[in-house]
């Protein structure tokens, strides 16, 4: 928890914002656990409910365990017109999971996301913080193979 303590000190000194703190925890642990929230609540003197209601608002701050790689496929209009539904089907088939699920080995979670601003290279998706564009079946298989 040393890193978390450093972050807490940074926050207390006004050097970073609460959302930065949340994101750093997610970056290192994969999600914001109840224990993390409780720890933050005690050390920052902010009610647990307030921390939870803030964190749970954001799509990119999971408060439950997810896969090591969170795949977020954009299914908004531009991606949809360029075949994102096929991309979702390919991912479901390759990973043998449905949307909102995580693979048995805890490696991949599959989700939908709102527009990620890659409409000029649609269809697109994010895996953790990385952007993947102009997707097709072959490209997806290659990406998954590299991560497996």
């Amino acid at each position: 928890m040393k890193k978390l303590d450093n972050l807490i000190s940074e926050y207390k000194r006004g050097e970073c914002k609460l959302i930065t703190l949340f994101k750093e925890i997610v970056k290192s642990k994969g999600f914001l656990s109840f224990e993390n929230l409780n720890y933050l609540s005690k050390n920052l003197d902010i009610p647990l409910a307030k921390l939870y209601t803030t964190a749970s608002f954001y799509s990119f701050i999971p408060t439950a365990k997810k896969g090591k790689y969170i795949i977020r496929v954009c299914n908004n209009l531009s991606c949809n017109l360029n075949g994102s539904e096929n991309i979702i089907e390919v991912l479901k088939k390759e990973l043998k999971i449905n949307l909102g699920e995580t693979t048995g080995d805890g490696k991949f979670s599959l989700e939908l996301t709102s527009c990620i601003g890659q409409c000029d290279s649609a269809p697109a998706m994010m895996i953790n913080n990385k952007i993947y564009t102009k997707l097709d079946k072959t490209k997806i298989r290659r990406i998954l193979r590299e991560l497996k």
């Binding site: 803030t54 954001y58 908004n76 531009s78």
Partner: protein
Amino acid sequence: MQILRKSNWEGFKKITKMKRKEIINKVKESGLKGRSGSNFLTGLKWELIGKGTRYLICNADEGEPGTFKDKFILENNPQLMIEGIAIASYAMDIHSAFIYLRGEYSYLKPKLEKIIKQSEIYLKKIKLNIEIVPGAGSYLCGEETAILESIEGNRPIVRRKPPYPSESGLNSNPTCINNVETLANIPLIFLGEWDNNLQLFSLSGDLKKPGIYEIELGTKLEHIISCGKPKKELKAVYFGGSGGCLPYEKFKNLRVDEKTISGKGAVLGARSLIAVGKDRNIVDISKTISEFFVHESCGYCTPCREGNFRVLELLDKIKDRKARIIDVKLLEKLAYHISDTSYCALGVSSTTHLKCALKYFKDEFRV
């Protein structure tokens, strides 16, 4: 492209010789308006900032479906935006600025940090600190008061106005919130030979060459769309997710600006045009957009939270050919009810797409 012009702090060097009031007047006279789609006169916004400790927030949280113009600037000419932040801060006597960078663009953070570091010599001169605050995947956080809540560490629910952020914004201090494209244009105003009418358009959808195009406001819709080279005959053009749509053939000669588009019932917004081919079904498209609003509704007010959920339910029914005439009537009623009674702009604009679709493509909502 005008927006790709390199300034390398030349604009900044000019303004440090000017009085604060002179700078604000020059921005005001330039006619520059908020490029997020708000169209509020930027110089006036600067003039209205209250007294005391003030903050500047650069809104880099473009989340409107089909919009990627700010990404284009952040990727291709971010120095211009940082210089714009410095000029704005100097003009309003601000010493603490934030860039609220959407979570989806977090890959751009190292690049921005590098430029801020390289700019230290200029930033120090005006005692300005710039902090990048990461967003975390929320469309609502593009709204200026939701950003304030997010930076303050609260659940980002839109604030009731007044008071406006210019009087009571971040931590109750006067705050100016400007969009990436708006700020990137600031140095250009001072460099001269700058055209306010040249604006960025995000073109996507059924196009062979989707991308960012710098086009003069008032250009015919057909000419704008032809830049992106349609893949097929077009049925409609959508203005982002919340701006609604217009039938393409009927309006291809329309000169595109804020007024002409709103005159036809749609909203130009941040100039994001999504081309939709003739083979597409408008009900399917309405469903895709509606899913977005169901996901992004914050849940604070009932019309937006429950209404959009019901809209999606009805669209599903129509798509599956299980709807009755009364369902289409209910859909139309709901569309107006949601926009009339929602708490914030997200809810109010969440059914513009539906109102336009029912106005121009009603025959597709068959039962």
